[in-house]
């Protein structure tokens, strides 16, 4: 059961963990790398085209059959002959429906891959905003689950941008990539190799001499080398152009980005208010059933002791001890309550030491590394503390780990905490309420939680909250 809805936009901006843009394809090595990268993009492009063909297959077949049917009907032919066509149309529709979500997902993945690579290879960052995937399968019906998935995919502008990219890429992108690749490829295959072959005594006749004007080895070689050089020179430029094109198509428009942002803020704000109210109710209930009740009982006990003190001093003494024990219990309960609201060690020492204190309280050895040169804003600090607390509790509860490690730092304008264990893996936010609760709590600060936990382990959870230290 997932207790809370997932955050409504996932922000992904690939530049965050990469070197600053520019200066990537300098020097001869850089130019050659640009060629390789262009080939890489071409590979992605071809994958996209294949994908398109596969997806379009059922549509084309269905269309042809439909046309067939249409022509027949106007030719007034008897019905039974068309039955096969009708079935064919239906079958292709069904087939199309079945592969549609998977195909759309794949298209989105290709687009994401392209934007990541253009950040890594060309220094062009393309921000992404995704509407997150709705949770798993629908409990009641797979049809509803399918509808939910499809609605999500079709409702996310990112899907349409990815589709547009597929089309633009297949035409304009292809042309850009082919400029350097073809120039170099053709230079080598059509000129240099035959040019070398044309030298007397050099495997004469192994490759047929092409009929170019000025068909002598030096001229051929010169043309070939010129083409290779030109292609190599142009490669970084066309690559940047290609990445720019990708950004133009793939990056969300400013307005779309703002819309998503407003929706996100509205959602997290109302969730924060809800959580705040729920938290207050819990505190009220805890006080009401716990410390308050004990104090009432204590008052009664003391009163009874007062009445007994002359008649039966021994009994009065027993009652007094009872009252003392009740006050100790009330203190313990209040202490636990305070710990859950705002842990004193966090107030005293700040996040790094509070995390160390958590590590010391964990049943398995937890190594804490990293420091913070200042203190994050109090609400961020508290959210991060409870996140680490939950993550370490998960390690103790679920991971069957030998050791765990926590690393905290502040870099690139964000607080970044990693909790890792060497346990069995398989952490899944969909299966409990803890991880979702962290996501929700961090979302109020534009923070994110990323959990990587393959079956068999290890589990690594990284939380990142943009904030300044003071």
């Amino acid at each position: 059961m997932s207790g809370y809805p997932a955050p409504d936009v996932i922000w992904y901006s690939p530049e965050e963990r990469l070197p600053p843009p520019g200066g990537r394809h300098r020097g001869v090595g850089g130019h050659l790398r640009a060629l390789v990268h262009a080939a890489g993009f071409l590979g992605l492009l071809l994958a996209g085209v294949v994908l398109l063909a596969l997806t379009a297959g059922p549509v084309v077949v269905g269309g042809i059959l439909l046309l067939h049917l249409f022509v027949h009907m106007h030719g007034q032919l008897p019905w039974p002959q068309d039955r096969a066509d009708v079935l064919g149309v239906l079958a292709s529709l069904a087939c199309y429906g079945a592969v549609l979500p998977a195909a759309l997902l794949a298209v989105r993945r290709l687009a994401l891959r392209t934007s990541r690579l253009s950040a890594r290879w060309c220094g062009v960052t393309i921000h992404q905003a995704y509407v997150p995937r709705p949770a798993g399968r629908h409990p009641d019906s797979s049809w509803l689950g399918y509808r939910k998935r499809l609605n999500w995919l079709l409702g996310d502008p990112a899907t349409w941008r990815a589709l547009a990219w597929l089309a633009v890429n297949a035409v304009a992108g292809l042309m850009l990539l082919l400029v350097p690749l073809l120039s170099v490829g053709a230079g080598i295959v059509a000129f240099i190799i035959p040019g070398i072959n044309a030298f007397p005594g050099f495997a004469e006749g192994a490759v047929p001499r092409p009929a170019f004007p000025g068909n002598t080895s030096p001229v051929l070689l010169l043309i070939g080398v010129g083409m290779v050089a030109a292609g190599t020179m142009l490669a970084p430029l066309t690559l940047r152009g290609y990445a720019g094109l990708a950004r133009w198509v793939l990056a969300p428009s400013a307005q779309a980005e703002l819309q998503l942002r407003v929706a996100h803020l509205a959602r997290t704000r109302s969730e924060t208010l809800d959580t705040g109210a729920a938290e207050l109710r819990r505190i009220e209930r805890d006080l009401h059933d716990g410390a308050q009740a004990r104090l009432v009982a204590m008052g009664l006990t003391l009163d009874a002791a007062g009445r007994l003190i002359d008649a039966d001093p021994a009994a009065a003494r027993a009652l007094l001890y009872e009252a003392r024990d009740a006050s100790a219990k009330a203190l313990t309960e209040l202490r636990d309550l305070v710990r859950g609201i705002h842990p004193p060690v966090l107030a005293d020492r700040g996040l790094a030491d509070a995390v160390r204190a958590l590590a010391l309280d964990s049943p398995l050895p937890v190594q804490v590394t990293g420091t913070l040169p200042g203190r994050p804003p109090a609400p961020v600090e508290s959210a991060a503390y409870f996140a680490v607390s939950e993550l370490l509790a998960n390690v103790a509860k679920h991971a069957r780990a030998e050791t765990a490690a926590v690393d905290l730092r502040h870099e690139l304008g964000a607080l970044r905490i990693m909790v890792r264990d060497d346990g069995c893996g398989g952490a899944d936010p969909g299966r409990g309420s803890g991880l979702r609760g962290i996501e929700r709590r961090l979302a109020a600060f534009d923070g994110v939680l990323v959990v990587s936990s393959p079956p068999g382990g290890p589990t690594e959870a990284v939380l990142e909250v943009p904030c300044a230290l003071s």
Binding site: P344, D348, P363
Partner: protein, 215 residues
């Protein structure tokens, strides 16, 4: 025995004074902040200090830091730190100098006057007084069934808990209603299982056990 107190809450401070005086201590100074506390300690003639962790003006761990400063200036100065809550982190910091004569208790323990003043005396004599809650959490960390602590018998575990709190063999025997000989036997067995050198000195023994558990 002369005590210096640092506690900012008036009621609690007065309560502490009354309690300590009732048990025959002399309260040399009762202060309500870290600076005054340090000044009182520097005046000398203090056998043991009782310090609250949270003090003005910062209301964070001002008292703990004052206590650590005092101990840095007067090595081995007996200090009993009391607090509304206990943290292993702070216990470690107090024990870090390995000199003993430290205590770290929940304020709740004041409710049992005899036990509390016993702890004050113990610390003043160079011993240790760790809150059962600190010890419980320390042991929970060492509870792996294959680990040395996991191999202790239930009775040995009880003895270990009381020993780690800083109690003498006699006190442990009284608490568990057994003879001192029996306690000594358990202690020897615990030390063997934990791989520690046995020691006749109660104070050294506690510090060794705490250091071992707190690794």
């Amino acid at each position: 025995m002369r005590v210096v107190i640092a506690e900012d809450l008036f009621l609690l401070r007065e309560g502490l004074i009354r309690l300590l005086e009732a048990y025959g201590f002399e309260v040399a100074a009762a202060t309500d902040n870290g600076a005054d506390f340090l000044a009182a300690v520097r005046k000398g003639g203090c056998d043991v200090a009782v310090v609250d962790v949270r003090l003005p003006p910062t209301f964070t761990d001002e008292g703990l830091r004052a206590a650590l400063t005092a101990r840095a200036e007067f090595p081995g100065l007996p200090v009993l730190v009391v607090s509304q809550y206990v943290e292993q982190l702070y216990a470690r910091e107090l024990l870090a100098d390995g000199a003993g004569a430290v205590g770290y208790l929940l304020k709740d323990r004041v409710l049992d006057g005899a036990q509390f003043t016993d702890a004050v005396t113990r610390v003043a004599r160079g011993g240790t007084a760790m809150d059962p809650e600190v010890i419980a959490r320390l042991l929970a960390r060492n509870a792996a069934p294959e680990g040395p602590v996991g191999r202790l018998s239930p009775r040995e575990r009880e003895v270990l808990e009381l020993m780690a709190e800083g109690r003498s063999n006699a006190a442990i025997a009284a608490r568990l209603v057994v003879t001192e000989r029996a306690v000594a036997k358990h202690t020897a067995s615990i030390f063997t299982k934990l791989g520690l050198q046995p020691s006749d000195d109660d104070n050294r023994r506690v510090l060794a056990v705490l250091a071992h558990l707190g690794r």
